[in-house]
Amino acid sequence: MNFSNLLNNFPEAVAMILFGIGFSNLLLQKNLIKKIIGLNIMDTATYLFLALKGYIMNRKAPVVVDGVQNVEAYVNPIPSGLVLTGIVVSVSVTALMLSLTIRLYRRYHTLDLDEISTLLKKEGK
């Protein structure tokens, strides 16, 4: 096995590990709040990955302040734009999930999704 590539790209590897942590939390946790935390970790890992890919060593953020208009001086602005769009999406989705969780908690006084399912079956509707 050649681990040198892994060392060169270790920030990307970290992003992927974070994605895995978030993904498995969202999938496997029973507690709804922990699921939402998993969702946020997963989304943030994707943004980290995008931001890493847009960054070019020794260059500045693409905002013209000191009159330098050379393209070579700045990092790629598109990934930042994508990250911003993604953040908007993930904020709205998180808000929706949280509101659903509040609804369920008020009704069943638990955050465990499986327990809610058993309660629903007992209700028999």
Binding site: F19, G22, F23, L26, L27, L32, K35, L39, M42, D43, T46, F49, L50, K53, I78, P79, L82, T85, G86, V89, S92, V93, L96, M97, L100, T101, R103, L104, R107, Y108, L113, I116, S117, L119, L120, E123, K125
Partner: protein, 507 residues
């Protein structure tokens, strides 16, 4: 005539802005506005379809006057325009069929909120169909998810909220994978527009560079969209979501929402990755295996189910399996069959949901399969409609389901390794479909003996005759659904040419 080129963009914007506008109207006016918007979009899309059929080539609409690699684009060919028209028709009929249920099940003050969701859903479906930009597609996938979740949870009972939560969790897993796949592709190619990505991907595929990341990106996007469109083993949320939401929601969710994602996947296969690269990868084998598993397991679960709405919902799992099996075969003909099955399933499944609710109206609102005895005599139109839907799902000639099964079988012919599994799975799945659909059809046409109703231990349900005039909107929508089904079944040849030409324009 060139003015028609603006219509795709205008229809997206129209449905997008009518959403917020609906929030300040009361329920009645919101409904009217919604019908108006769906109708207008349908008419505009038919103009676009006529235009593309006349010019015989796809056109690109540049937004904001920024040329190709920088700006955002809409791209319209025959298939896109046809899909938009078809989705509008189905949505209109679903909304018509469920008027009575919506008024009964949704609180008065929340009626207009429902129409916001429907307008946003229409907007996101149109955008998924038309867009030429992968990241825009991701954003609209999320809008689609959120509005679909709203459609499920508008009925305020525990089951619905739980179903909506499960739906959101599964969808978010799917869109996480989709987003990661898009990021990978962006890293590899540096482009976001589908046409530009494809050029770069062709270069990469030819040189063999970055082979693993490319396949990984394809796999992530396919699996993400497969999770979102409820491919078996990811269907756990589906029966609850379809079974307990209000009628129009169930019909729209099963026939349109999942199809929007599948159409995006077709676009990714053809317009982003390139179909030859997709066929060479092993990703389609995974889709093939899970498609076949879904065809069988969905039907088995449906046989075990006693609640008629949940039974129809499980049947959706099987039908989605068919579509993915078509992708898995990896030939042009098979993809054509899958696209045809998208249309056929959309027309049939919505018909079944509306017809089942008509039957349950005549059986005292019960949804248990046992209470449907003789329901076909009590509500004649719904009985006929349910029979048509069932026959179509089983695959009897004359109805749309037959054509798609025939196309799948033809596509499998001559395929070296996948021919036998496909044909066997088709045969078994047809028998399983027949078991649960014919069981229900026989049940609804079994006359109720007068004495049996008194003798049985179960409290008898309140049976009554339902005349077609009682709910004119539902009857009209049922009649149109039946006609649509027969049209798809008897007149498939021009449609197949249209799909072929449309897929050809994807290149």
């Amino acid at each position: 005539m060139d003015f028609v080129r603006n219509f795709p963009f205008m229809s997206i914007i129209l449905s997008l802005f009518s959403g917020p506008l609906t929030s300040i109207l009361n329920g009645k006016w919101a409904k009217r506005l919604n019908t108006l918007v769906i109708g207008t979009v349908g008419i505009m899309s038919s103009f676009v379809l006529a235009y593309t059929l006349k010019t015989k080539q796809a056109f690109v609409y540049i937004m904001g006057h920024f040329p190709a690699p920088w700006g955002n684009e809409i791209r319209v060919g025959i298939l896109e325009a046809f899909m938009a028209v078809f989705f509008c028709i189905i949505m209109m009929l679903c909304m018509m069929g469920g008027i009575a249920e919506r008024e009964a099940e949704i609180e008065e003050s929340k009626q207009n909120l429902y129409y916001i969701m429907v307008n946003l859903l229409l907007c996101s479906l149109l955008a998924l169909i038309y867009t030429n930009d992968l990241f825009t597609a991701y954003v609209f996938v999320e809008i689609n998810t959120i509005s679909a979740c709203g459609l499920i949870m508008i009925r305020q009972n525990g089951r619905n909220i739980e179903a909506a939560t499960r739906y959101m969790i599964m969808s978010l897993l799917g869109s996480g994978l989709l987003l990661l796949g898009i990021c990978f592709l962006y890293d590899l190619t540096g482009q976001l527009l589908m046409s530009n990505i494809k050029e770069a991907v062709q270069l990469l595929a030819a040189s063999g560079q970055y082979h693993v990341p490319l396949i990984l990106a394809l796999g992530l996007m396919s699996v993400g969209l497969a999770i979102k469109s409820a491919l078996y083993p990811f269907h756990a949320w589906l029966p609850d979501a379809y079974g307990y939401s209000t009628l129009s929601s169930a019909a729209i969710l099963s026939s349109l929402v999942s199809k929007g994602y599948i159409f995006l996947l077709v676009k990714i296969f053809y317009r982003v990755i390139g179909f030859s690269v997709v066929c060479e990868s092993r990703v389609i084998n995974i889709l093939f295996v899970f498609g076949i598993l879904g065809m069988l397991m969905g039907s088995v679960s449906a046989i075990k189910e006693k609640d008629i709405r949940r039974m129809i919902a499980f049947s959706s799992v099987a039908q989605i399996g068919y579509i993915y099996m078509g992708f898995g075969l990896g030939t042009e003909v098979a993809v054509r069959a899958s696209v045809y099955h998208i249309l056929s399933h959309a027309a049939t499944k919505a018909l079944l949901f509306v017809a089942a609710s008509g039957l349950s109206d005549s059986s005292g609102g019960s949804r248990h399969y046992r209470d449907f005895t003789g329901a076909g005599y009590r509500n004649k139109l719904a009985g006929v409609a349910f029979t048509v839907g069932s026959l179509s799902m089983v695959g009897i000639p004359m109805f749309s389901g037959f054509i798609s099964k025939l196309l799948f079988a033809q596509a499998a012919m001559g395929h070296d390794r996948k021919m036998l599994p496909t044909l066997i799975a088709l045969a078994i799945s047809t028998v399983l479909n027949a078991v649960y659909f014919m069981k229900t059809v026989i049940r609804i046409y079994t006359p109720v003996p007068e004495s049996a109703a008194i003798v049985s231990q179960r409290p008898t349900v309140e049976c009554r005759r339902v005349n077609w005039k009682e709910q004119p909107a539902k009857s009209v929508s049922l009649v149109f659904f039946i006609l649509l089904n027969l049209l798809l079944g008897l007149n498939s040849e021009p449609l197949l040419h249209l799909i072929e030409a449309g897929l050809g324009m994807f290149e």
